[in-house]
Amino acid sequence: MSIVVLGLNHKSAPVNIRERLAFSTSDVTAALRRLKEMEHKAEFVLLSTCNRVELYYAGEQKSGQIAGRLVAFLSGFHNIEPEQFKPCLYFHEDEEAVRHLLMVSAGLDSMVVGEAQILGQVKESYKLACAAKSTGKILNRLFHSAFFTAKSVHTSTAVSNGRVSVAGVAVELALQLFADITRAKVVVIGAGDTGELVVRHLRKAGCTDVTVVNRSHERAADLAKRLWITVGRWEELSERIGQADIVISSVAAQEYLYTRESFEQAVQRRKTGSLLIIDVGVPRNFDPAINKIADVYLYSMDELKEVAEQNLKAREEDMAGGLEIVYAQAGEFMDWFHAKDIGPLIGRMQEEFQQIGRRELERFLVGPRQDASCRMQLEETVNRVVNKLLHCVIKNVDAVAKETGPTEAAKLVDAILQRAREISCEAKHDEDMHV
């Protein structure tokens, strides 16, 4: 039994390869069905995001065989020559594959370390696989272990703390100042790209009262149309700032749009409440001295960028903590994975032992001893001896499992089983020779 993952991601493959091998939601279901047809007893999950395509497999085939079949499948499904994408592929098996999924789910293998979106995508892929009935005991357990690991990594380490983009930090700042961001009045000055990005983030966070003001009314109207926000006139700017909670400015101007004096005039009617100004204009649109005014918090592009970089650094520094959790969970999963085979192995070992006992009894009960009246008692005695010896072996297997883990115990049982089979075969061979 093996677990393997075959795939490519943003580190191993360029975007033109990734997009050619990507699966849409309907493609995923169709692909899983085809994979199931390929091998009925195996389990499959297909993860396809903009940054990665991965096929998870659990089944009886050896890793060498299955790798080739999965590559052929990808090639056939997308009608693309294997040579074109083969160098970009990675292949992991057993514990490596388990660790890989756990790392992916926890966002430790993502482009932005610690991002939480990937966990949702892994869950979605698993759901699709469940719906397509392509999962089983092993992948079910593995994916649940991955969800648990991701949660542990996110809660006990700092890998997902803090936003790592300027727009994200701006939204976080707004959330730190205002209890209910959905009620905040936002004024956007200028129709620049960075400003637009911040507005998109604020809209996503729930801001509804957003007005864009630009010297060119047409450009403002165009932005407003795209972002579903309202347009204000340039002449009303100071009045709007006086009523705003958040101001985002990205005007291309060589001089300050507001000096401290002109800004104080603009907000002189303002009585209470904080005002957050995100100045993403380069050069800056607001005089830094404005930050000294009570209840006004002015942040420039560089200051936000610095926070984003610090957050990213903090995330990367805490990756070791995340990996520790991943390794521990992967180890636990592998223990279960190996232990799940011990039960049936012991059953088979019991059968082999009894078989040996029966053979020896048959060898004994030949000639004049064939009609022995004590045959039943003999059979019972042999069975008792076999069971007692088996009990000794099982106790030892238990001790090994406790001391060195189920993997070693499974290996021991497997070795005993092999030996028992050999003895059984030798006995049969002797019997045949005798006949």
């Binding site: 700092a158 976080e172 959330l175 730190q176 209890a179 209470t272 926070v307």
Partner: protein
């Protein structure tokens, strides 16, 4: 603390230990990883609250009465009320700075209690009157409210300072939003003011009906401090309703009011410039509700 009985000393030591451990955990949370030690905080504060209750029960049993006659008992009760407040708010506000300030305030109260620890004493007859019960309850709850408002003020000022000086990393996700802190401060101020008003009115009633008279009561050091705090909070509320007050100014006013309450509770009592006592540690004639205003020598306590 050495004056407490053996059982009270053990329970009180456990309270100090639990609160100190919680305070250390809070500091670690702030310095290292938010969330890592969070799971231990709730049990520690809960244990301290239960021990506070146990200590008050022990003292109540020893004097066969409600044990809220001395400063020590009042502080233990204040720590208990603040602990309960922390546990309730923790469900809604799970931020490390917020929890840390609350826990440090609780530890501060407990350490102050350790300074003024004394054996439980039976209450004066006056302490059983409805005026005195209303007065004591209102004042203890008022102190808790103002303490809560002051903790939020401190957090607000700290957050505001950090955000102004671009120390975003120390603030983001570690304390409630500035607006929430402002609102909680306002709530604490309003409730504190109402309770202080009730406390002052019941105190006036108590002084005029069974005490030394309103004029002498108003001249007592402790009462002067409380009236000062009450005035500050009242002024803050009036200015706030007229939208003439910035949250930052209100935060400073709240902290000043809390300082006055602290002075009333600890400073004035320790300095001995008050006769505001409900216990029998003074002779009947010595208490403020009686005539002489002289403290009785130790060993000559009358019942």
């Amino acid at each position: 603390m050495l004056e407490l009985s053996a059982s009270e000393t053990i329970v009180f030591s456990l309270i100090v230990l639990a609160d100190a451990a919680a305070a250390v955990l809070c500091a670690l949370q702030l310095l290292k990883r938010p969330g890592r030690y969070g799971a231990l905080l709730m049990p520690l504060v809960l244990a301290a609250v239960l021990l506070d209750a146990a200590l008050l029960t022990l003292r109540g049993v020893s004097i066969q009465a409600v044990p809220l006659t001395g400063l020590f008992d009042s502080l233990v009760l204040l720590a208990l009320v603040f602990g309960v407040l922390y546990l309730l708010l923790r469900l809604a506000v799970d931020q490390v700075w917020f929890g840390a300030v609350m826990v440090w305030v609780i530890l501060g109260i407990v350490l102050m209690a350790a300074l003024v620890a004394e054996p439980a004493s039976t209450p004066h007859e006056v302490a059983g009157t409805p005026w005195a019960v209303a007065h004591a309850s209102a004042m203890i709850l008022a102190a808790a409210s103002v303490l809560f408002a002051a903790a939020n003020s401190a957090l607000y000022l700290l957050g505001s300072y950090r955000l102004k000086h671009k120390g975003i990393m120390q603030v983001l996700g570690r304390m409630p939003s500035m607006e929430t802190l402002g609102r909680m401060n306002g709530l604490g101020v309003r409730i504190g003011f109402v309770l202080l008003t009730l406390g002052v009115i019941s105190g006036l009633g108590l002084a005029s009906l069974v005490g030394p008279g309103v004029a002498r009561w108003l001249a007592d050091g402790k009462v002067v401090c409380i009236i000062g705090a009450w005035g500050l909070l009242g002024a803050a509320l009036i200015l706030d309703s007229l939208r003439l007050l910035k949250v930052k100014t209100r935060a400073y006013m709240t902290i000043a009011a809390f300082g006055l309450i602290l002075l009333a509770i600890i400073g004035v009592t320790v300095a001995g410039v008050t006769q505001h006592e409900f216990s029998r540690a003074l002779t009947v004639g010595d208490c403020e509700f009686c005539a002489t205003g002289q403290r009785a020598p130790i060993g000559n306590l009358t019942t």
